[in-house]
Symmetry: D3
Subunit: 132 residues, 6 copies
Amino acid sequence: MAKLVEYKDMAPRAKAVVDTIARGRSIKPDEINNVWKALAAHPDVMERFAEELKFAMGPGKLDPLTKELIYLAVSIANGCDYCIASHGAMAAKKGLTVEMHEEFLAVVLAAQKGNKIAQAYRVPVDKAFEEK
Amino acid sequence: MAKLVEYKDMAPRAKAVVDTIARGRSIKPDEINNVWKALAAHPDVMERFAEELKFAMGPGKLDPLTKELIYLAVSIANGCDYCIASHGAMAAKKGLTVEMHEEFLAVVLAAQKGNKIAQAYRVPVDKAFEEK
Amino acid sequence: MAKLVEYKDMAPRAKAVVDTIARGRSIKPDEINNVWKALAAHPDVMERFAEELKFAMGPGKLDPLTKELIYLAVSIANGCDYCIASHGAMAAKKGLTVEMHEEFLAVVLAAQKGNKIAQAYRVPVDKAFEEK
Amino acid sequence: MAKLVEYKDMAPRAKAVVDTIARGRSIKPDEINNVWKALAAHPDVMERFAEELKFAMGPGKLDPLTKELIYLAVSIANGCDYCIASHGAMAAKKGLTVEMHEEFLAVVLAAQKGNKIAQAYRVPVDKAFEEK
Amino acid sequence: MAKLVEYKDMAPRAKAVVDTIARGRSIKPDEINNVWKALAAHPDVMERFAEELKFAMGPGKLDPLTKELIYLAVSIANGCDYCIASHGAMAAKKGLTVEMHEEFLAVVLAAQKGNKIAQAYRVPVDKAFEEK
Amino acid sequence: MAKLVEYKDMAPRAKAVVDTIARGRSIKPDEINNVWKALAAHPDVMERFAEELKFAMGPGKLDPLTKELIYLAVSIANGCDYCIASHGAMAAKKGLTVEMHEEFLAVVLAAQKGNKIAQAYRVPVDKAFEEK
């Protein structure tokens, strides 16, 4: 498993990343998730991922819960246990109810099925979808 | 590639599936997508997939565009070309603008990165995420 | 795309691999599949893959059609278009009927669903399955 | 991890699903696998998955052990730990010996290799496989 | 397929990205790869990907060919046809010979096998690998 | 989890495999990794994997560390936890520093992003990459 560095033991570059995230989420720096404690020893990857996350998940045309569901859908398709656990929790915080989660999963499962049907039968793309 | 069966040549079971889908999408039966033309020769898989899609993508707590984006996110993660083409087109029909698509893709790419970071560093799941 | 080398133009090492496969399948060497024409320029990978295939797919406790279905199931899960096309054809040659294919695909789709449900809900492995 | 609901604490809809499965497998309802304990809180997904599994894995043209091997092959290709553990156990119950398992895995590994060779060399699909 | 925008038709933001890449590769801007022509309509994703690629693939402790091989290995594992084609060509430009490519692929195939063996047998991580 | 067989309890065929590996790595046979303890009960898969690994990872045109990084890249792309842990440790032994690891991961993450961009936008392969 990754060596986790606690906030108080982080180098300044890592602390700066955590401070910004903590402020954005209204938590204390030492309540930060494990992924950031693991990244603390890898400041280049850490800074770039924090920046990319902020850009992608920040305010825009898509609402925050929709963004969490897209993130979660990718994580389930990729079988990333950590991300399913952490972004499942974040989606709940942003308003995902149990009923909505069940509906969300139904879409993920239908997509998985559609993906495999299209590949197994080798379905050619419709001309109408190419002509744009 | 799959052998595509045109609507007029489909057996009654397949025609029935296509009729329902065409009605729901306000298109003519012979404008149906290739995936259904390919499935026409496999009525068991066809009926069950149509039923599952209807259940998953139908009206509910999540709005139709959000559902399309979840479907599309799974298809990109799985690298399913047919589904990316067809559900990209459907998302556009349901209101996805170019700006929203760029934002959507930014979330998908951030999720891919988060997934691989968590796996590469072998980040253990936070206790807080387990205790629920 | 790969550069395909026809049988008559292959180097002796590649010809030897093709001769053995052709004999085993009762076809002429120049009727060999594209994968071998592509591998002809890479004799190390070619010889080792031919040897591994022969070992895995040859006579044993599992019957030849079952082996083809296992091969095909992996190829669908991995989304490998070439392998779906070629091993679908081989399965048909070894007796897979349209009805059996539909049943086969139902199992593949159920497995995909089971995989994603287990990962999405983060289901812990049963003690009974660990204690053996 | 998923919250597991024991049989005695399940709502009637979940109990009904478990009763049917337990009868089919000749086990007691409280010996049911974790995946069903996890699904108990999600009755829509649960009922639909139980129904799909029954349809796919029930009696047909392919024998029960072949179906388990197809299920297991997909689970290994997808890297689903829970499904490998549970369907490995089920395959053993249905007659998979250690020798057969080794043969099974040889096919899975050969398929993985074939998949990656075809993709890495970008092998085009043979005309003969398209013309059917 | 993506709509490809030729250099002369690109908006200034896209042209600026292409100019920098073309300079770095000593090619003319209108010889740029399709991926950039496809991205020209999506300037946010385009600028960020160009910047990330430059950071990752630029001079550092790992030599340029090693970086191409790592990129190619990921692309084969993910089955991304475009990336296999384009980074295969780039690796050749950076000195990858046919012999080295065969050796490279042997490692990729061994890794694929090792991955599936570890998952299929559910091998627990050695304590020695955890204690660091 | 796999049943792990300690060296002293292995059958002669398994012991022979472990002896060769241990000699090559200058370790004692009972310090062998878990994957070999798990494979000890499956001598066919074990012998073939040991032979393939030796062929792929042995001396050649690519240096040993480069080979480890290719192996590790595939394992991260496939999300194989055991292989990330074990080959991460082996890469460290062969000279991978923390700085190099960070650079390595940047390439892996850029490749992941490139793969998903190419698939999401459905970028067609350049003619220049096909014509060789």
